[in-house]
Symmetry: C4
């Protein structure tokens, strides 16, 4: 039953994506020498040369006291409200998500939004706005908390509560997962499989999606990124937004070229309060325009990618973590 | 009485600003296709598409022993004078403020200067020069000290002494407030309202001014910035001035575009000893020139903004901190 | 015997390099005024104006628990697997080395690969791919571990085991050495000489290879770099790849110019999981193209350099560490 | 006697500088509209619009065990030689100083070299090469050590030994001083005056030289810089050399413009092992070329500046540290 249902979804996704690909194609330079027909052999089921997937983390409102902020290096005594830090977080809800939604809409891009359960409960209208924009609602835990140190049952509850809370608000049941700071426990993939997830993203080992076997069944890994990640580079490495834009372009140039001879995927990550600032959204828009100069670039939600590759024989299998997943 | 007086001031401010706007308009590209008349619907009372407000912190001379400087990471024993660090601070008074005043004058820009009381007492001629340049004198505490840990009466005295000390020197009574490192106590807004302030800036949650209710009455919040802030980016994140300029341009590009469909404001912050260096003032001048290529960009003092938006029904209300302000 | 064999190798290397030089020459701007004949006096045995040597460290799979990664600043309890960190390392094996091999092949560049013994044992197919690409297999210890604190015998075993393990897989016996974080013990050069090595790279004191006497015999030092080093600049200094490219160009511009009047060498270092990312390989490719605009630029393996300079009377001798090497 | 001698030196310096200025002038754009005659009123005795002074610190060989290096964040046990760190320092002697001397010579620039006594003793040929290039030999202490914590006699000996050691090697008696990390003791200026010094540079408070009274007599302060300082920006802030170049240009653009209406000076600091790398010297050369596009830019030694301004009535007096200098 499950496989049949998936196949139908894969088919539907493919149809959608092929049409998205065609729409994108028309944005190309339009030189009469450049044909709108994809090259004979492409490495994605949809014939794209490069698939780009954006993660838009919605976490604001879910942060614990003392959560990482521009003020957290000089923490206040426990119980003392850190008012500017809280206002910094609220920015993600007031401005950040909506600004990003605007740019995704302008360019008809669908992204994957990793939603912390308590963030959606605090700002249900934001969670709904994301879902209503046609974006994927993926899970990110019920709260902003370590996951690697939970036992199996605790972890299952932690994930399930997050899925349920967000589904109640948005109507979407998550099939993709992102752990707090990527730090899975050894049980995480089993937990996810038990809860009906199709994929997770907390892996940095490839530039393309792959299959890993969990209790013998296919589970998709869509690689995440630290390289094109706003929190890592802007808050952690102290890059300016023009550096972030340069990074995106360099990364794109190489992956696009490689896409001519193998399956390649580019992952980008934006968090509400960081990637949602004016300068970062401007950088992203400049990047989107840059990608439009090439043929065969497709922006996709991660659930659509997962469905597309899960049963594709060209998808590589990597069981590096078999010790935990048998 | 208070409201009547405020209305007159709002009117006066509007007249001033409309004329400032017109003056700015003439600086536009002057293409015959670009009209000098603002579009039918703009989102500021003065018809501007984007309001930019610069904060110029004057703190030098008020710094305590061991205050943050390029030398403070390797502190000297208590009581040992840190002579190069002190000379680094004096730069703000000798060169920094005057250099910035020159550039504001050249481009007819009025800024808001947050003045530490003891800094004005140490360098009264600088405080007077700022006031005489037509800039707003705003309050920043009597001294360079934590405010979040004071009780109500201590805090009221701390703020009032600062206002009085600076008024005695400049003749201007502050109506706007900026806390040390933005760190308000839960009582700060009540303290400010009791002392007749119109607005504060220690909030990062919006890209436009808003109203918050304090004991039932309107109090204006003019958002501050860490993004376009010299101390955060130059001293904290170790950006070079060309990165700072790139950030300003990226931020401007996005906010200006958004200004066509909603009210938007851009905040920039310069501190005497950091933003007042030659390279940073050069970056700022390049940025000012960049903004002149667009229609409807207005640089404003924050008190003028506060008066303009306080009774404007289009100004949003945000009571996120109602728990502290009732 | 040894010297005769070496002389033959020097001869062979020279022939190879002169032909490489000629091939490179044809890539020059081709203006009729620019002659393809090297200037009368050049400072390398092969007549090049600048020799560039790339180090490609292959370490992934050899890292100990808690090894430096984007996650190691917040370490997990001992024994808890750090799954995203492990996946970050696997990237070097899955993507990084192969991507770099592609670009070396495209431009017919031969590099020196410093291979950790346990990395080669974990990924023998990668070690073989490097060797099969015509690159030098150099030694980097049997495992990823401190070397400066070992006694003579321990150190000799540590180095020898690494050489033997990699030779068994690749068929190449290393003649060049790179210590963990460059940190040699006072005995390292004697150990290396005893094991038949020709050169080491853990020295930053010159921009050209030199001879140092070890127990009275010539030992070559090929200077390494922190300046053009991916791990130092990208992970340590938090540069973006466009900064790395700018650094390479600035460095090249100066060294190339100096190469007209003295022997100059440029060293570049890439590690599997860092230099092997798309943006960094793009930066490297842009740099390679940039060097092609000049005459007489030759990319060389370090063993070929060592053989070329070891018995060249123009090679400088520096015995700064004589106290340890007598 | 002393004053007469000084006057003669001032005269001589002026003659030298006027001729240097003229020589520089010819490098200008040469448009027929641009006259080679300085504007009617300039603010330097020599009619220049901007004076630039480079400090070239020669410290290598004088560093203590564990001195700041790319390796010092992970220190080795006391007594264990840190071989790569030592080789990093030797670079300053082997390559750095000579490379900088080449570029100063190419553009006929005379700089001020702050020489640590033990560095000159270790590398006398380098100290001589600097002096023979026509550069100023200034003092930097007998060794690389804290000065702020010495008592009057200790400090006097520390300074005097440095002067004597370097004079013995170079024949030049220093008249200018630079403390370790700029950290003077309260007695430093008295010590320097007692030893016949004319100026010190450990002050960041102005963008022009000034007079401070020491025991009633004029003492010159030539402002130093952290802004255009290689060790602060490259090693401390982790800038890439292209950022350093951008900083120099921004700084220059503003100070040059200000030089039309007041006396302005730009200070740049390069250390042997940091500023002497190929990429940094390339950045410096690009900057020098950039300054040549303007009229009236003069590079000067600091002793020449000190002599020029010491008895000039236009030189400002700043007695901010009077409490220590009476």
């Amino acid at each position: 039953m499950k496989y049949i249902k998936q196949s139908v979804m894969v088919l539907a996704a493919t149809v959608f994506l092929v049409s998205a690909f065609k729409a994108n194609d028309n944005v190309g330079k339009g030189s009469p020498k450049e044909e709108n027909i994809p090259a004979a052999k492409k490495y994605w089921p949809n014939g794209a040369q490069l698939v780009i997937s954006v993660s838009m983390q919605f976490e604001t409102g879910g942060q614990p006291e003392g959560a990482e902020s521009p003020f957290s290096n000089t923490p206040l005594p426990k119980g003392q409200p850190d008012l500017p830090a809280e206002s910094w977080y609220r920015y993600g809800g007031n401005e950040g998500i909506y600004r990003m939604l605007d740019v995704w809409k302008k360019y008809n891009i669908k992204v994957t939004s990793h939603v912390v359960g308590t963030a959606a409960e605090k700002y249900p209208e934001i969670a709904k706005a994301i879902a209503n924009g046609g974006h994927e609602i993926a899970a990110h835990g019920i709260s902003w908390d370590n996951q690697w140190n939970k036992n199996y049952n605790e972890e299952l509850q932690f994930v399930k509560q997050g899925v349920d809370a967000v589904k109640k608000i948005t109507g979407q049941k998550a099939v993709g997962y992102n752990c707090n700071w990527l730090r899975r426990s050894p049980n995480t993939l089993k937990v996810l499989q038990d809860l009906g997830f199709l994929y997770h993203i907390d892996d940095l080992s490839h530039d393309e999606p792959f299959i890993t076997k969990v209790k013998g069944k296919n589970f998709v890994v869509i690689p995440y990124t630290l390289r094109n990640n706003d929190i890592v580079n802007i808050e952690g490495k102290h890059w300016s937004p023009d550096q972030f834009l340069a990074q995106l372009k360099f990364e794109f140039d190489r992956l696009y070229e490689e896409g001519a001879t193998k399956r390649r995927m580019m992952s980008i990550s934006f968090h509400d309060r960081i990637g949602g600032t004016p300068a970062m959204v401007h950088a992203m828009e400049e990047f989107i325009k840059y990608t439009k100069e090439k043929q065969g670039v497709v922006f996709m939600r991660k659930d659509d990618i997962a469905k597309m590759v899960m049963n594709d024989p060209d998808t590589p299998v990597d069981n590096s973590e078999a010790i935990f997943n048998n």
